[in-house]
């Protein structure tokens, strides 16, 4: 391989990585020709450096305008031949069980985003109320799936995202509630556990959730989570909660802030 041929090869190596070259000649050449090596190094450095250019987000108007446009165009179309929405979604999601988890997540996120978009459009057209109610239900089901997948991600930020998504749900199913309680008890990140307290607060009208939250108090070691749970239980105003707080006070390790909080909590409940 000569320098001219090497030059032609550089763009391929940039896009596909140094290991990608099918033949080994270029490697020999690169290592034996200081000029080409330098050129490769320089260009590769610049190519890589381009990666620091941040991906910018367009303003919210863009999405809004797009959906407005889309809705207008949809109305223009003959209203007659409308396939039920449910079938659209089904077509979109061929088979959840066999998809790779990441793909599944990506697909679900996408559908939810689209769902929101369409929900947004629906705001303007009341006549389609029934259809959109069905659509909303479908979106809610998908949101639950997305939340579940996010909650099992290794990144704490992703899990927080999963928790914040649950706050939009009207009616979480038992699997999701169980997952939320599991996060509250076992998540390695205090930030995530605290966020789980907030998420569960929204569903505290359910007896099962209140019982689980109360039971969780004794399992928490972080003073931050302890305080958040104490505050929550005070708002329940239940005898059971007062008993759990009293039990907490037996813990010798309790830091003064938490102890004080629990004491004042008990007096507020009784």
């Amino acid at each position: 391989m000569n320098c001219q041929e090497m030059k032609k090869m550089i763009p391929d190596l940039l896009q596909n990585g140094l290991e990608s070259g099918q033949d080994e000649h270029y490697r020999e050449h690169l290592h034996s020709c200081p000029a080409c090596w330098q050129e490769w190094q320089d260009l590769h450095e610049t190519w890589t450096r381009l990666g620091i250019l941040p991906e910018e987000q367009p303003g919210p108007e863009l999405r809004r305008n797009f959906y407005r446009q889309l809705e207008a165009s949809r109305r223009e179309m003959a209203a007659a031949k409308v396939t039920p929405w449910r079938q659209h979604w089904r077509r979109l999601l061929p088979d959840w069980r066999y998809a790779f988890p990441a793909m599944r997540l990506a697909a679900a996120v996408l559908v939810v985003v689209v769902g929101f978009g369409i929900g947004f459009m629906a705001g303007g057209s009341r006549e389609n109320g029934g259809k959109f109610a069905r659509l909303n239900k479908e979106v809610e089901r998908l949101q639950q799936q997305v939340s579940l997948s996010l909650l099992s991600q290794p990144s704490a930020a992703a899990r927080l995202q999963g928790l914040s998504m649950t706050s939009r749900l009207q009616d979480p199913d038992p699997t999701l509630l169980k997952m939320l309680l599991d996060v509250l008890d076992n998540d390695p990140s205090v930030n995530v556990r605290l966020s789980a307290v907030d998420a569960l607060y929204l569903f505290a009208d359910r007896e099962q959730v209140r019982a689980a939250l109360t039971a969780s108090l004794s399992r928490q070691a972080s003073p931050l989570v302890q305080i958040a749970l104490i505050d929550l239980m005070v708002s329940f105003k239940e005898k059971r909660a007062a008993a759990a707080l009293k039990k907490l006070l037996d813990d010798k390790q309790l830091i003064p802030e938490v102890r004080q909080r629990a004491k004042s909590g008990i007096s507020q409940i009784l």
């Binding site: 990585g17 990666g51 620091i52 941040p54 991906e55 987000q57 919210p60 990144s155 704490a156 930020a157 992703a158 927080l160 995202q161 914040s164 990140s189 205090v190 930030n191 995530v192 605290l194 966020s195 907030d198 972080s222 003073p223 931050l224 305080i227 830091i255 802030e257």
Partner: protein, 287 residues
């Protein structure tokens, strides 16, 4: 699959040589590359006693320095002492003393995840880590030191117990929590996607954002805390408690309430949760 790279640096091999190695400028330093330097890596570091400083730099390797803090006390024979006596002597001398024979900075790398650990239960060790800027971080510390992160674009997870957290010039997601100490974060920009969460029990939460940042805040203060903001915070009163707004001196917008506040700036967008039980929340506009 590549075999696990394991680099184990025995800082202290034998008691006999320990004092020399642990002299004040005895910094142990090791540089480890990620197995796939083309992709962002993850660095995890755990420390019981001491501080962690992580800096992003324009390079490909992770450079770790472990530096024991303070002076070495005791003479040759002290190294043979057992733990109990060490502790007594520590109190007596008022200085940290190093336990010989147990130390070692360990760096393990596998599939672009690097785990750094120092058995720092007997002495304070400060870790300084330089990472490629796109690296993600998971840092844990407990006593006697803060955690500082500077110039890193990856996702950052930090937990401390007795010490503050300072994140500066970052732009990825940040999830940080401590019990005793303030949390300070300065963002170059927000990625607009992942939620951020900064929480402490005793201390301020102080965040600096670009003037144009689009954020939905969830703020919680307690006791005598206050919220100060350079930004025009648009409050949504989601909580049922009453919200009391006070415009105050100095051009800053002050809000004092006793429950969670939901507020947005620049029309809202990324979710940021800030909480402190004993302290203030400060929202600053980058200059």
């Amino acid at each position: 699959m590549k075999p696990i790279k394991r680099i184990f640096i025995a800082l202290l091999v034998m008691g006999m040589v320990a004092p020399a190695l642990w002299s004040e400028d005895a910094v142990d330093r090791v540089a480890v590359p990620f197995s796939d330097p083309g992709k962002p890596g993850l660095v995890k570091a755990h420390l019981i006693n001491g501080g962690i400083v992580v800096k992003g730099y324009d390079g490909k390797e992770v450079i770790v320095e472990a530096k024991p803090r303070g002076h070495v006390v005791g003479k040759h024979e002290d190294e043979m002492d057992d733990d109990g006596e060490d502790e007594k002597r520590d109190k007596h001398a008022g200085m940290m003393r190093l336990k010989a024979g147990g130390g070692g900075l360990s760096v393990e790398e596998s599939k672009n995840v690097m785990e750094i650990s120092v058995p720092s239960w007997k002495t304070d060790i400060d870790l300084t880590i330089q990472v490629p800027m796109n690296t993600s971080l998971e840092l844990h510390a407990v006593n006697n030191g803060g955690i500082k992160v500077e110039n890193v674009n990856g996702d950052i997870e930090v937990a401390n117990v007795n010490g503050g957290i300072t994140l500066s010039r970052i732009s990825g997601s940040a999830v940080a929590q401590t019990v005793n100490g303030s949390v300070t974060a300065t963002f170059n920009r927000l990625d607009g996607k992942k939620p951020l969460s900064l929480i402490t029990l005793n201390g301020d939460v102080d965040i600096t954002l670009p003037a144009t940042a689009k954020v939905d805040f969830k703020l919680k203060i307690d006791n005598h805390g206050e919220i100060y903001s350079d930004f025009e915070l648009k409050l949504q009163n989601k909580s049922e408690k009453t919200v009391e707004d006070k415009r105050s001196h100095g051009g800053r917008y002050r809000v004092k309430i006793d429950k969670t506040v939901f507020g947005s700036i620049n029309g809202g967008g990324q979710e940021i949760t800030l909480k402190t039980f004993n302290g203030d929340i400060l929202l600053r506009k980058a200059k």
